[in-house]
């Protein structure tokens, strides 16, 4: 019997603020105290390492996630720290990875698995849609699947074909999957811990162009926040955030589009227009309350997303806001999204991606003269 591996239920019974604090204390990589500049990649890595310390049923596996540490190095050092039973490479087969994770989650584990790239996850689509999303439902809650499927997604890295898809709508459209996407370094840590803690399966969409974005973050403070949330049974799960307050119009964005929206808001401020930026964070469940409160306040909205606009998450957001805020709107809601074309080659992607100018043009169109 391996002393380091127990069932999730055993582990869960013991999770308390005290054990969480102990885990935080024993954090894998000794960091200096206080705020420091780290990348989103590092924040995600720390979240997995801390979860693995806290709960022996947390396992990490996928393609090249072992000694290499993943093609984006998000799992760097986990095999070395936790051993080959806790973080390991699988054969190169995505349906196999997801299907095996389903069985492991049925049998007491909390798998955190990596799909190497967005478009490489499609072989696993049947497992995700037909089983990951439905097992809880089919068994009336007798079988829960506490698993996280990490997907590096979206563009902006000059990737060759099949490396830059915005695939979030496929998952968001499927009942039974939670879909999270962090846009900040701190949220990378916070939201991945919450995803691993979730008893429901989570599609964790990581904006790959933000992996190397940096921010001043106090990991110890985030650990303490997580421990406190665990003890109190509270969290930020399913909540959108006001990324920048404003009064004249609302920019609604998620994942890779949040920094673009913030840049647009900064540029608009120079022209004397105050734009509020909402970071959706959780696509499923969707935080209607925060999004609609902002739009009711400003009366104008632009939804920004890298994905194709047609039948997309952005169309869903427009529909929801329109249904709930119609009488507060001074202008039709605009969208700035990727065009309805296959994700373009590296030399063409800047024409495709929503940029500051295109966002500001949309803002200009919000019937200010009325």
């Amino acid at each position: 019997m391996s002393p380091t591996i127990t069932t999730s239920s055993e582990a869960n019974g013991n999770v308390s603020a005290a054990t969480a604090r102990a885990a935080a204390k024993a954090a894998v990589v000794a960091e200096q105290a206080g705020p420091q500049t780290i990348t989103l990649a590092k924040a995600l890595n720390s979240a997995m390492a801390d979860a693995m310390h806290t709960d022996p049923s947390v396992l990490v596996f996928g393609e090249d996630v072992g000694m290499l540490g993943g093609v984006f190095r998000i799992t760097d050092g986990l095999t070395k720290t936790f051993g080959k039973d806790r973080c390991f490479d699988t054969p190169l087969a995505e349906s196999g990875i997801v299907g095996m994770a389903v069985g492991m989650a049925m049998n007491g584990m909390r798998p955190v698995i990596e799909m190497q790239f967005d478009a490489f996850a499609y072989p696993a689509f049947e497992q995700i849609v037909s089983h990951v999303a439905k097992m809880h439902n089919r068994t009336k809650g007798a079988v829960k699947l506490p698993m996280v499927i990490r997907v590096p997604y979206a563009g902006g890295i000059g990737g060759v074909e099949h490396h830059c898809d915005s695939s979030e709508a496929y998952y968001a459209h499927t009942a039974g999957l939670k879909v999270f996407t962090p846009a900040t370094v701190a949220d990378g840590y916070r939201m991945l811990r919450e995803a691993i803690d979730s008893d429901d399966p989570v599609m964790f969409m990581e904006p790959k162009k933000l992996y190397w974005s940096k921010d001043q973050v106090d990991l110890d403070a985030l650990r303490a926040e997580h421990a406190e949330n665990t003890a109190r049974g509270t969290s930020s799960e399913g909540r959108a955030a006001v990324a920048r307050p404003g009064t004249d119009a609302t920019l609604i964005a998620y994942g890779p589009s949040v920094p673009t929206a913030l840049a647009a808001a900064a540029a608009a401020a120079e022209e004397g227009r105050s734009l509020e930026v909402i970071d959706v964070r959780s696509i499923v469940p969707f935080d209607d309350e925060t999004v609609c409160a902002s739009v009711r306040k400003t009366g104008r909205a632009v939804v920004i997303a890298e994905a194709h606009g047609f039948a997309s998450v952005s169309s869903e957001i427009v529909a929801r806001v329109q249904e709930r805020c119609f009488h507060h709107l001074a202008a039709p809601i605009r969208r700035v999204t990727g065009f309805d074309v296959p994700y373009p080659a590296p030399k063409l992607e800047h024409y495709y991606l929503p940029g500051v100018d295109r966002i500001l043009d949309a803002v200009d169109d919000l019937q200010w003269e009325d």
Binding site: P91, S95, G96, T139
Partner: protein, 391 residues
């Protein structure tokens, strides 16, 4: 038990040392399918029962055979009762395993309580033989819900419709158990058509690479709805596919429960002892149409079906046990009574109109309903209360 996510350097080497044969002879199925009792109910000569080195099988004990026979009779009664209930409109659909009962029963009997079974939609008899309540098993086909039993109670995966996807779940259950040092064995079931699916390949390969205690049972019933095996595979046999994954394969007469108990029993024992996964192909026949919605006369001849009637798994076992003096009229009557009791349970349980609860739609999507689901739940509740008020 060694705990490692990595396969040993040579998965078959230990078995090869044990049996004193080559890796190929260990992994390739025996030259003939293993059969112990022939279609006429007589025991094959010992030398024909499966005696090739590395493929040696012991005749199961009398008590085991009698218990298996009882389950065969119950299984046949269950199949025929369920088909009748479909005709009476009590169930939406029933994929019958009539003719495959020996595979169904052996699949359940070869496992211990701590083991897991991962069945397909056609394996209801195996699910019941494992101990799951018959009426709960049929809930899926009655249309009340997409599943009627708690898989954790009897360690039986929910009956799976997307072909071979459940094999990977079995692989994951075995992997988790192995990491915890438990001696769980998983029996993962699929049909001949399913071996064409990608997940069949991925499941066998993952099980072999991680050296997991999984026994894959392929019930080769000759047809994938209307398409015969020749259109699925031109491999020498489906059991031969094992060697490509570095695991041992065996083929067995799927209508001979004596041979099935011997072959599956040994496979489960070897898996538990750390041999890694094994693949067993059972040759059987789907005596009836794919489901009540299918018309088998469009793609196969009555003469072909007649040949398989002569190989029926029940009649040969009845003859064998009677000739051995193990089965007399009194015992046969007792078994028939038990089978009738299960049939009655099905008739009564499935005739009862159980009201469905509309709010269940929203209850089991997530552990806690999202705000959106709460809104939709309120919408439906309001709609229903207005309907009620208008009555």
């Amino acid at each position: 038990m060694t705990i490692s996510a990595e396969a040993p350097e040579d998965a078959a080497s230990e078995a090869v040392r044990k049996f004193g044969i080559t890796v190929e002879d260990y992994m390739l199925p025996a030259r003939h399918q293993i059969q112990m009792v022939g279609p006429d109910g007589t025991l094959n000569p010992h030398t024909e029962q499966g005696t090739q080195p590395g493929h040696e099988y012991a005749l199961p004990g009398d008590e085991e055979l009698l218990a298996a026979y009882e389950q065969l009779v119950v299984g046949r009664r269950v199949n025929d009762q369920n088909s009748a209930l479909v005709r009476q409109g009590r169930m939406a659909v029933y994929p019958s395993s009539h003719g495959q009962e020996a595979c169904q029963v052996a699949a359940a009997l070869c496992l211990s309580d701590g083991d897991w079974m991962f069945p397909t939609y056609r394996d209801s008899v195996a699910v019941m033989a494992r101990g799951v309540d018959p009426v709960q098993t049929m809930t899926l086909f009655r249309g009340d819900w997409h599943g009627g039993y708690d898989p954790t109670k009897h360690k039986v995966g929910i009956q799976c419709t997307p072909l071979t996807t459940q094999l990977l779940h079995g692989v994951g259950v075995a992997h988790a158990a192995k990491l915890r040092g438990e001696d769980t064995v998983v029996l993962a079931m699929c049909g001949d058509g399913a071996t064409s699916e990608g997940d069949f390949h991925e499941a066998l390969n993952f099980a072999a690479v991680f050296h997991l205690p999984v026994v894959f049972l392929v019930q080769n019933n000759q047809y994938a709805i209307s398409v015969p095996l020749a259109h699925q595979s031109v491999a020498p046999s489906l059991a031969h596919k094992a060697v490509g994954y570095g695991m041992a394969g065996e083929r067995v007469d799927g209508n001979d429960i004596v041979a099935l108990l011997a072959v599956l029993g040994r496979a489960v024992r070897l898996a538990r002892e750390g041999s890694g996964p094994l693949l067993v192909e059972a040759h059987t026949y789907r005596m009836q149409a794919h489901t009540n919605a299918d018309d088998a006369t469009r793609y196969r001849q009555d003469s072909e079906v007649a040949q398989w009637v002569a190989k029926d798994p029940l009649s040969r076992m009845e003859t064998y046990l009677t000739d051995r003096g193990l089965l007399d009229d009194e015992r046969a009557a007792g078994i028939a009574e038990k089978a009738e009791a299960v049939a009655t349970q099905l008739r009564e349980g499935l005739s009862e109109e159980v009201p469905v609860e509309p709010q269940d739609l929203f209850k089991y999507v997530f552990s806690t309903p999202t705000p959106q689901l709460k809104e939709q739940s309120a919408l439906l509740a309001d709609e229903l209360s207005r309907e009620e008020a208008a009555k």
